[in-house]
Symmetry: C2
Subunit: 169 residues, 2 copies
DNA sequence: TATTGTTATACTCTATAACTATA
DNA sequence: TATAGTTATAGAGTATAACAATA
């Protein structure tokens, strides 16, 4: 469309509005919207998103040592204390000392914790459905493929994580 | 594919891993990645992302009253003080009282502020290019369309904003 | 009395370092 | 000495409320 030599084909100077319409910022903004909706879904069941993650990992693994949980979540051990204490106080989670190595705390869901995860999990699914309500099935599949390609194209570091946190706004 | 009546066709119970693979969490995670890359790009030029936004809005509008800036950014007036003070101390921004209404502070970029925005803007564009390097042109266009459809499908509130902030992790 | 901008304060989430106990 | 977990502390980022100046 530009038949001859425009100066160099480098990115021309952009206005801020052009940046704001660009895919990076749009992705960042929509990711923040998704984060907020999910946070609200979890909060409706008395959980922060990270606590939901804790319950979920315990659910999937059938319990974990506190140190393994810290490794999986890529967070400091002291953070886990902060996350687990209220969960234990509410009776959603149980800490048991490992008799074989009395330093270790084995953490597992209680019955109440299982039920709480189930209900929060449904809220999570509902929030997801609501977020993508405006896309038809074909668009959703396209989006999933693109996000997967994007994820795979980025550093391996970003793949396993579930880091969606950060204060409300 | 399920020829007769599975219980109800409601969403079955999900493991956490299934949630983690779902589009909502993937979008949230990738949005956080984008936020972090952009933040790094801005930080390389001595700016937080919100300060970059301030410079950008001043660039696009050719200066604004502080109160208008607060309205556009949907933030408290006191936040602007926090954002503008270091920018003014560095000489990137100038505050002038409006002679017609001496309560108002008209804020505009200095020459140095313009240059700083330009360089940070290039870094922003480079980060964007790097983020989407693994997608070909067709995929990028698909993604832009899907993000636009998604944005338009969500509450009008989410459309204009540029909120990508929140602490580092 | 309402509006503009500032200061002072508090809150949330996260990160770091020092400490206890087990090995 | 090294590891598991805890406590205490500090930091970044944001929000809220009280205030001064001007209209």
């Amino acid at each position: 469309m530009s038949p001859r030599s425009d100066p160099p084909p480098r990115a021309a100077a952009r206005t801020f509005e052009e940046h704001a319409d660009g895919p990076a910022l749009q992705l960042a903004i929509l990711g923040q919207v998704a984060t907020n909706r999910l946070r609200a879904a979890h909060a409706a069941h008395g959980l922060t998103s990270r606590q939901f993650q804790v319950l979920g990992l315990l659910h999937d693994h059938g319990g974990l040592a506190q140190s393994d949980l810290a490794r999986i979540m890529d967070t400091a051990p002291s953070m886990l204390v902060t996350l687990l204490n209220p969960l234990e106080a509410e009776g959603l989670v149980e800490r048991r000392r490992d008799p074989a190595d009395r330093r270790r705390h084995f953490v597992a869901l209680t019955k109440a914790g299982e039920m709480r995860f189930m209900s929060a999990s449904q809220a999570h699914a509902a929030a997801e459905e609501e977020l993508f309500a405006s896309l038809d099935d074909r668009q959703r599949e396209q989006l999933r493929e693109l996000l997967r390609a994007l994820r795979d194209g980025l550093a391996p570091k970003a793949q396993g994580a579930c880091r969606t946190e950060g204060p409300a706004r």
